[in-house]
Every structure is written in structure tokens, then in C-alpha cells.
Amino acid sequence: MKRRLTYATFLFRRTILVVLVLILMAHHIQNWTCDKDRGMDDTIQALQADGPVTKITVRKCFPIDRDTFTADFVYVTPKQIVVTYAFRAEQKKSVWSFPTMSLKLVTPDGQQLLSHQAGSSGTTWGETGFVSFNLPNKTAVRATLVYDLYDRHGQIEIPLLKAGEGA
């Protein structure tokens, strides 16, 4: 009788252990595949159609509450300016997707460039995405990327080299 009871607890224990390990494995494999598939390479590849593409490293960030917005790269083509970003959210539950279209790009002479396209993909830690802007009327060597929504503000200086030249 005692032996049977020992065996039963052993079986119970092992089952829980295996089930828990399986659940966690499935969860983490799912997370891993989710993070691996960024889906942004296609967008960047497609920029080649515009003509020569200049890629500039930005890697600057600003906080929005406890979260962090990082501008990674800027791609300047003869037709548009594309900024890629990463948004890291500390909060795990109820995180809304980043309002990418609310980002503004302002040149030093005050022209606010229109954004006409944006995209993002969610990751386990937040999201990555891009936003593209029209070229400025006058050649600009830098511009300011501005986040200004409700009472939260943030901005980053973006180097552009010679965006808008010949436009």
C-alpha cells in the first residue's frame, strides 16, 4: 500500500514537471520565432528601386514614460527618407502599438515633412518598425524627429547628409 502511494506521488510529480517544461518550451520557442521574424528587410530592399540609397547610423533614443524609443538607422533615397526604430516597452500587458504616424520630421528651417508610410511588427519586448517621409524642399543635412503626443515629448537629431539635393 505504502509502495503504491509512493509510486502515485512519483507519477504525479513527474507529470507536473513534464507538463510545465513543455508549456514553457512552447512559449519560449514561440517568442523566439516571433522575435526572429522582423520582416523589415523587404522594406529596406525595396528602397533600391528609388535609386542610390544612403544608410546612416543614428542609434539615439529618448524615453517615453518608462519605455524607450530608439531611432536605429536612416535611409536617404532620391525620393524619401526612411527612419527605422525600435520601441522597448517595460510593461508587458496592454501595450498599444506605437503610434508611428504621429512622429514628425522637422528640418532646421522649420519645414515639417509629411510621412506617407509606416510599418511595424511586434516583438516580445515591444516592436520594431519604420516610417518614411517626403524629401524637404530645401537641402537639409539634418532634421529633428519629434514625438509629441498628449503631454509626452521626445526628440532626436537625425543626420541626413544631403537629402533633398536636386529635388
Partner: protein
């Protein structure tokens, strides 16, 4: 025997550790335990607020939806949270709408459908003019052609909320009005 006992102990410890890991990932509880908590998380996840909750309204025709009327600086909002299997989760309307002080009242609306046939409408706003004691939403039923107005008395919190369920496009919205004590129209904004 003793060794077996120690081994079993380690396995139980491992189980505890794994349980903690599962709990930490919120695998089975993606939502919140209370509507208030879901509302707060929805706002902080949107980088808005925390707003001052002026009223908590349980949707009369759907107990699984709770709306928080609130103000934050110069904005007003009506944030919906929805109860699902995994707890209370963010619905819609988390972001604030600017209060236009030049107008007697500011409003916004939102329609959402949880089932296929019916739309849930939420028409809400903030009254700036304190002479307004009643807010009226004028609508006409398209089938019967009858006037179906909705009224709400304005209380201290200055916010109003109209909730109704209908088939999409079954009613024509005519106007939102602000009425004074005597029932005179102080403000009227056409909606059609």
C-alpha cells in the same frame, strides 16, 4: 531510501521554480483581475494619463464591458475595458480628446462590434458651459422614421455618455445639443 527522498525534494523545488516561471510570463492571465487595473494598464501602455476617473459605468446591455469616464489636463476620455477569458483587457477609447473651451461642449464617439450583427455605440463628451444642464443626442430611426432622442442630465463631473446597441446604419444621427434649465437650446452641432 534517504537518497530517493532528497531527489524527490529537488524535483518539487524544480516544480516550484517552473511554476514561478510560468506565473511570471502571465501565460494564463493575459488580462487583469479588476477593470480598474486594466484601465490603468491601458492608459500607461498608451502613454496617456493617469486620468482622473470621474465615473465608472458598466454597460447596461453587456456586463462584460466597463467604461471609465475621465479627464486628464485638457483632455477627456471614455476608456472601455472588456472582460474576456483571461481577465479584464483593454477595449477602445483610451486616448484623450482635447476639450475645446471655445465650444459649449466637446464630444467624440466610437462604434465597436463584439458580435456580428450588432454594433455598440459610445457617444461621449465634456461640457464646458455650466449653463448647460442637459445634453441631448437627436437620432431618427431609419425604419420607422421616428425621432429617438437620448438625454442625460449634466452632473458635477461635466461629462456625458450615451450608450446604445443597434445594427450599423439603422439610425440617422441629427445633432448633439446642450440645453439649459428651461429646455432652451444653448448649443447645437449638426451630426448629419
Amino acid at each position: 531510501m534517504n537518497r530517493k527522498f532528497v531527489f524527490a525534494g529537488f524535483e518539487w523545488l524544480a516544480i516550484l521554480l517552473l511554476l514561478w516561471l510560468v506565473w511570471r510570463e502571465d501565460l494564463f492571465m493575459p488580462g487583469s483581475f479588476t477593470p480598474e487595473q486594466a484601465h490603468r494598464l491601458s492608459e500607461s501602455g498608451f502613454h496617456y494619463g493617469p486620468s482622473t476617473i470621474v465615473r465608472k459605468v458598466t454597460v447596461p446591455f453587456d456586463q462584460h464591458q466597463v467604461i471609465f469616464l475621465g479627464t486628464y489636463n485638457d483632455w477627456f476620455s471614455a476608456d472601455t475595458v472588456v472582460k474576456k477569458k483571461g481577465g479584464w483587457m483593454a477595449g477602445g477609447g483610451v486616448g484623450g480628446i482635447k476639450i475645446d473651451r471655445d465650444k459649449a461642449l466637446s464630444y467624440s464617439w466610437e462604434g465597436s462590434s463584439l458580435s456580428r450583427s450588432l454594433m455598440t455605440y459610445k457617444f461621449y463628451g465634456y461640457v464646458s458651459d455650466d449653463r448647460i444642464t442637459t445634453v441631448e443626442l437627436l437620432m431618427t430611426d431609419k425604419e420607422t422614421g421616428k425621432l429617438a432622442p437620448m438625454r442625460e442630465a449634466v452632473t458635477e463631473d461635466r461629462m456625458f455618455l450615451f450608450l446604445w446597441e443597434s445594427k450599423q446604419g439603422s439610425a440617422t444621427w441629427q445633432a448633439i445639443r446642450g440645453l439649459d434649465k428651461e429646455g432652451g437650446v444653448l448649443y447645437e452641432q449638426s451630426l448629419s
